[in-house]
Structure formats: structure tokens, C-alpha cells
């Protein structure tokens, strides 16, 4: 399969993730969209790894998966803390710090 297909799909994923971060207001969905952006990078890495025929990209992708999991865990932790403080679960309401 041509490398271009991998790249197109991955670019679409990246753009979709970015749009999601821009338009969604629920932090949980925003976190999902961030995952999408990271996985777009992963897909590109795997595609290139296939193209070059070596394992570097695949190893990189596995490392990224670990990192992404950590990120989501921390994000969820903060969201739970927000929930416990009975704060709105909405990124637009987080405007205490501005100016």
C-alpha cells in the first residue's frame, strides 16, 4: 500500500483531533481528542516505519502509547478533582485565571 494513504489518514486524524479540542467543551472529550492527535502521530510513525523497513518507528509508537496513557490518567485525575470540588465540568467555565 502506498505510504500516502497512511499519511492522509493520519493527517485527517490529527486535524479531527485538533478540531475536537477547539469545539468540544467537555474536558473528557477534549482528552479523547488529544489521544486522537497523539495516535495520528503514531500512525504516521508506523507508516514511515513500514516505508523504511526498520523497527525504530514502531518502538517510538509504543513509547508514545505509554506516554498517552499517562497523560489521560493525569487528565482524568484532575477532572475527578474538579468534580469533587463541585466545579462545572466544562472548559469554558474555567475562566478564573485571565487577563
Amino acid at each position: 500500500m502506498n505510504i500516502n494513504w497512511f499519511l492522509i489518514v493520519s493527517a485527517l486524524m490529527f486535524a479531527l483531533g485538533a478540531i475536537g479540542v477547539l469545539v468540544r467543551r467537555n474536558p473528557l472529550v477534549v482528552l479523547l481528542c488529544l489521544e486522537l492527535m497523539l495516535n495520528a502521530g503514531n500512525l504516521a510513525l508506523l507508516g514511515f516505519s513500514r516505508m523504511w523497513g526498520d523497527g525504530d518507528g514502531q518502538i517510538f509508537a509504543i513509547v508514545v502509547m505509554v506516554v498517552a496513557a499517562c497523560e489521560v490518567a493525569i487528565g482524568l485525575g484532575i477532572v475527578v478533582a474538579l468534580y469533587r470540588r463541585r466545579l462545572p465540568i466544562d472548559v469554558d467555565e474555567l475562566r478564573e485565571l485571565a487577563g
Binding site: S10, L31, G41, E71, I74, A81, R85
Partner: protein
């Protein structure tokens, strides 16, 4: 199964050269364990003391390895002068932040062990980042520094602002990480290599200089790194996060993250991406100029000191970039020198803010009123810090700025030097009011200067002094003295950062 394992050979590791990293990560583990112990005194005082010991041990190991240039783990990391200097900066910032955090509410809220071990892990991540010679380790280092900081920012679990800053930092920071990752993926796609040396040879060999994939990769890498160094227009998280995060964490972030980010920018762009210099230089120049303008202009009229320093740090990052874009040894030296100077001034300032915040509950500029009369040491340190950040002669800041301008002119970018000077002129308009506020007497005794409300009568003064803590005063005094001494006798600084590119790219 055994046969497969036998056929996989682990990489050679020079444990001596690897030891500074082990100091930090080992320290993090020990601190985490000790933090589980039940006596409160061990948790509240033993843990920070151990944290300082870990940072101190790392500095000791660094000095032991001072003249080494060793490539580690198959060139994934390198120990050279740049790594050592950045690690040194990170450790000094770590010790200072630990001292500032000793009585911090945040450490109590998420437990001391966790708080301080996260601090050590973030420091380790910074070292990995500055030492990395491979895209994978660069990314790992970056995340290793960012993830603990996300938590530390949100560590005042009962404060809405702290949680908000943590979530904002996490989301915006992750966008940056994803961008950087995508850039790295494209870099790997363009060259088929993940280590810097390999990328460099491949780019030169294949003549990839004008290649669209390679250039797009550079662009996304620039954006991702500009995020971490809080450069405009990727700076917007900075003021909010600096303001909301616990002050010791802000102090650590503002200094150490910047050092690590500038370290990796210098290493990546001076080696692997060097062939594309004509393409990436204008982009960095634009970012530097925008940062200097946005940072200085945004800091005007801020009421919160932390917010003001956040904008100021954006401008300072812009100054630092000037040393990068000239791509000379002098430029790299100027960057590291300026990092040292910036560290001294910022830590002094944040130490004073920490004390005042505990005493008055506010970080407004007005909360400094009358500080000169009550605590001349703190006020003196803050004055020196502000003057140094503004680059007034006889402070270390002047030496740093002078070196940057010299590097800019030497590299043929005199006009960037002038931009620095113009930025510094604007900056006087927000640094000097801070100095003026401190040496102005209190309006009326018995009134809380920050809120204008009357303070409770009797005994409040002693309690305030107790809450402020001597550790923060110590940090302020040491940093303030260093600003003055290096401002008058800068020769040791020049010698410290001399040969910063020694061993650069070897191995």
C-alpha cells in the same frame, strides 16, 4: 524463550556518566517511599531534606564528571558540557524550589512524598531532554518533564485556581506535545533515522534541505518546542498557569523548564537540523521578536506579580532565542550565561513572592508595600532581581544581556540586539513600579496593604513571620547576593559557561 533473550544484547552503559540521572530518579523513588512513613515529622521535614540531598548528590556527581564527554546508551543520551550545565541549573532550581515548598500547603494536600518525588522526576525529565541525542529520548524527556508538572500545578487540590491551571496546562501542553510528536514522525519519515547524528548525515547525503516533508517536520518541531519554552504566539498558557500554580512550582517551572527547553533547542538545531539553518532561522527570529514584544507589552499593568513575571518570562525566552538564531559558539555561551542570570533573578523574585503570599495571602504588587521597612533583606533581594531582569548595570542581568547583544552583533544580527534593548526599555515600566512599591512606606499601619482590610489586632506579626519561613528568605538572600556579586565580578560566570559546546556532538 531463553535463547531469544540470550540473543538480545543490552546496550553498553557507562554507569559513571549515567549517574547524575540515577541520582535524580533514585532520589525520586526513595523520597516516594519515605513519604509513606507514618511519623508526621519525617513526612514534613525528612522528605524535603532528602529531596535536597538527592539534588545535592546529583550536583556532586556532575562535578565528578565535569570534564567528561561520553555518549550513553548507543548515543540516545550524551553527557557533555551543555548537559552538565543545564543539569546544574535544574538542580539549583530544584534545591531552591524545595526550600520554598518546605511549608507549602500544596505539599501537605497531595502528600509530601508525592509532591517532592514528582519534583525530582520532572527534574530528571529535564536532564533527559537536555541530554537527548535521539528523537525518542527527546520525546520521552519532554513528557517526563511535563507530566509531573501537570500534577504539581494542580496539587493544591482545594484551590479552584490551582486545578484550573493544571487542566489548562495539561490540555494546551498536550496539543504542543502532539504537534511535536507529529513533527518528529515526519522527521523520521523524511530521513529514516531517529538519532540526531543519523538525521544530520542523511539530510546532507540525500540533500533534503529543500524537501517539503523535512521542512514541515522542522516547522512542527519548532511549534512544539516553542510551547515548552513559552514563546509567543504559543505562550497563552503561561500567565494562567504561573498564576494558578503553587508559587514554588511556578518558580521551578519558570526557571528549569526554560533551561531544559533552550538546551534541547540548541542541541537539536545546532546538530540534526543544522543544514536547514537558512529555512528555520527566519521562523525562530519571528518568534523571538514576537515574544519580546508580546511578553514586555503584556506585562505592563498586571496586578499579580506571578502573572507579571509570566509575561516577563515570555520576553526573556525571546531574548534567549536571539542567542540561538545566530548559530555561533558565542551565541550558545550567551544563552547558557543568560539562563544562569535569569535563574538567579527569577528564583530571588519567587522566593520573595512566596513569603509575601504566605503573609498576606495575595501576590498583588500592592502586597509588597512597606516591605523595605519591615524586611530589608527580602526587599533588597527583590530589588536586585527586578533590576537584574531589566538589565541595569552592576547586576548580573546586565552582563547577561550584554553578552546576548554581543553575540547578536557578532553573528550579524545587530538589529536583534536593538530589539532586546527596546524590549528592556519597555520592561523598565513594569519592573520599576515593583521596586517603588517596596520602598514606599505602608499607607496606614494596621491595614492589610493587599486587601485594604484591617488585620486582626495582636500577635499577627509574629505569626506572619513564622508562616513566611526562613528557608525562603535564605533563597532570596543567596540569589540576591549572587546577582550583585556576578554583576560586579562576572569573570567566574564567563569561565563557567566557556566551552559550552565542548564535546558537543562527539561520540
Amino acid at each position: 524463550m531463553t535463547s531469544v533473550l540470550a540473543s538480545v544484547k543490552g546496550p553498553e552503559i557507562d554507569w559513571a556518566a549515567f549517574s547524575p540521572l540515577l541520582g535524580l530518579f533514585g532520589g525520586a523513588l526513595i523520597v516516594l517511599m519515605v513519604g509513606l512513613s507514618s511519623p508526621r515529622v519525617i513526612r514534613a521535614h525528612g522528605v524535603p531534606a532528602l529531596t535536597i540531598a538527592a539534588f545535592g548528590a546529583t550536583i556532586g556527581l556532575l562535578i565528578w564528571e565535569w570534564n567528561e564527554q561520553v555518549s550513553l546508551i548507543q548515543d540516545a543520551l550524551i553527557l557533555d558540557r551543555l548537559t552538565i550545565l543545564i543539569t546544574l541549573l535544574v538542580c539549583v532550581a530544584g534545591i531552591a524550589s524545595t526550600l520554598l515548598a518546605w511549608r507549602e500547603q500544596a505539599a501537605r494536600e497531595i502528600a509530601h512524598g508525592e509532591f517532592f518525588s514528582l519534583l525530582l522526576i520532572a527534574a530528571g525529565g529535564m536532564v533527559v531532554l537536555a541530554a537527548s541525542r535521539n528523537l525518542v529520548t527527546t520525546f520521552v524527556g519532554l513528557e517526563l518533564l511535563s507530566l509531573p508538572l501537570y500534577i504539581l500545578c494542580a496539587s493544591r487540590l482545594r484551590s479552584e485556581r490551582s486545578l484550573e491551571s493544571g487542566l489548562k496546562y495539561l490540555i494546551v501542553g498536550s496539543v504542543g506535545s502532539a504537534t511535536l510528536l507529529y513533527g518528529f514522525a515526519m522527521l523520521y519519515g523524511a530521513t529514516g533515522e531517529t538519532d540526531y547524528a543519523g538525521i544530520l548525515t542523511q539530510v546532507v547525503k540525500e540533500g533534503l534541505m529543500g524537501d517539503a516533508l523535512f521542512l514541515a517536520a522542522i516547522g512542527m518541531t519548532i511549534v512544539g518546542l516553542a510551547f515548552k519554552a513559552s514563546l509567543a504566539p504559543f505562550h497563552q498558557w503561561t500567565p494562567d498557569v504561573y498564576e494558578g500554580a503553587p508559587t514554588p512550582v511556578t518558580a521551578f517551572m519558570s526557571v528549569a523548564t526554560k533551561a531544559a527547553a533552550l538546551g534541547v533547542i540548541v542541541r537539536l538545531f545546532f546538530t540534526a537540523l543544522l543544514p536547514g539553518v537558512d529555512d528555520w532561522r527566519p521562523a525562530w527570529i519571528a518568534i523571538a521578536v514576537i515574544s519580546i514584544l508580546v511578553g514586555n507589552v503584556g506585562a505592563l499593568g498586571q496586578r499579580s506579580l506571578k502573572r507579571m513575571l509570566a509575561f516577563s518570562s515570555i520576553a526573556q525566552a525571546g531574548y534567549l532565542l536571539v542567542g540561538v538564531v545566530v548559530v555561533t559558539e558565542l551565541g550558545a555561551e550567551a544563552v547558557v550565561l543568560y539562563l544562569v542570570v535569569y535563574l538567579l533573578a527569577n528564583l530571588a523574585a519567587f522566593a520573595v513572592i512566596t513569603v509575601r503570599e504566605r503573609e498576606t495571602g495575595s501576590d498583588a504588587i500592592g502586597s509588597l508595600r512597606g516591605l523595605g521597612a519591615r524586611s530589608p533583606i527580602l526587599a533588597g533581594a527583590m530589588t536586585l532581581a527586578m533590576l537584574s531582569l531589566a538589565g541595569i548595570p552592576a547586576t548580573a542581568g546586565f552582563i547577561g544581556k550584554f553578552r546576548l547583544i554581543e553575540a547578536a552583533a557578532d553573528g550579524g544580527y545587530t538589529w536583534l540586539g536593538i530589539v532586546i534593548v527596546v524590549g528592556s526599555m519597555i520592561s523598565l515600566a513594569y519592573y520599576l513600579p515593583v521596586v517603588a512599591a517596596m520602598w514606599r512606606p505602608d499607607t496606614e499601619p494596621g491595614v492589610d496593604p493587599a486587601t485594604g482590610r484591617a488585620v486582626l489586632a495582636g500577635g499577627a506579626q509574629e505569626a506572619e513571620a513564622e508562616r513566611g519561613g526562613w528557608e525562603a528568605t535564605l533563597v532570596a538572600a543567596v540569589m540576591g547576593a549572587a546577582i550583585l556579586v556576578f554583576g560586579i565580578v562576572p569573570q567566574p560566570l564567563f569561565e563557567l559557561v566557556g566551552d559550552v559546546l565542548k564535546g558537543f556532538g562527539t561520540g
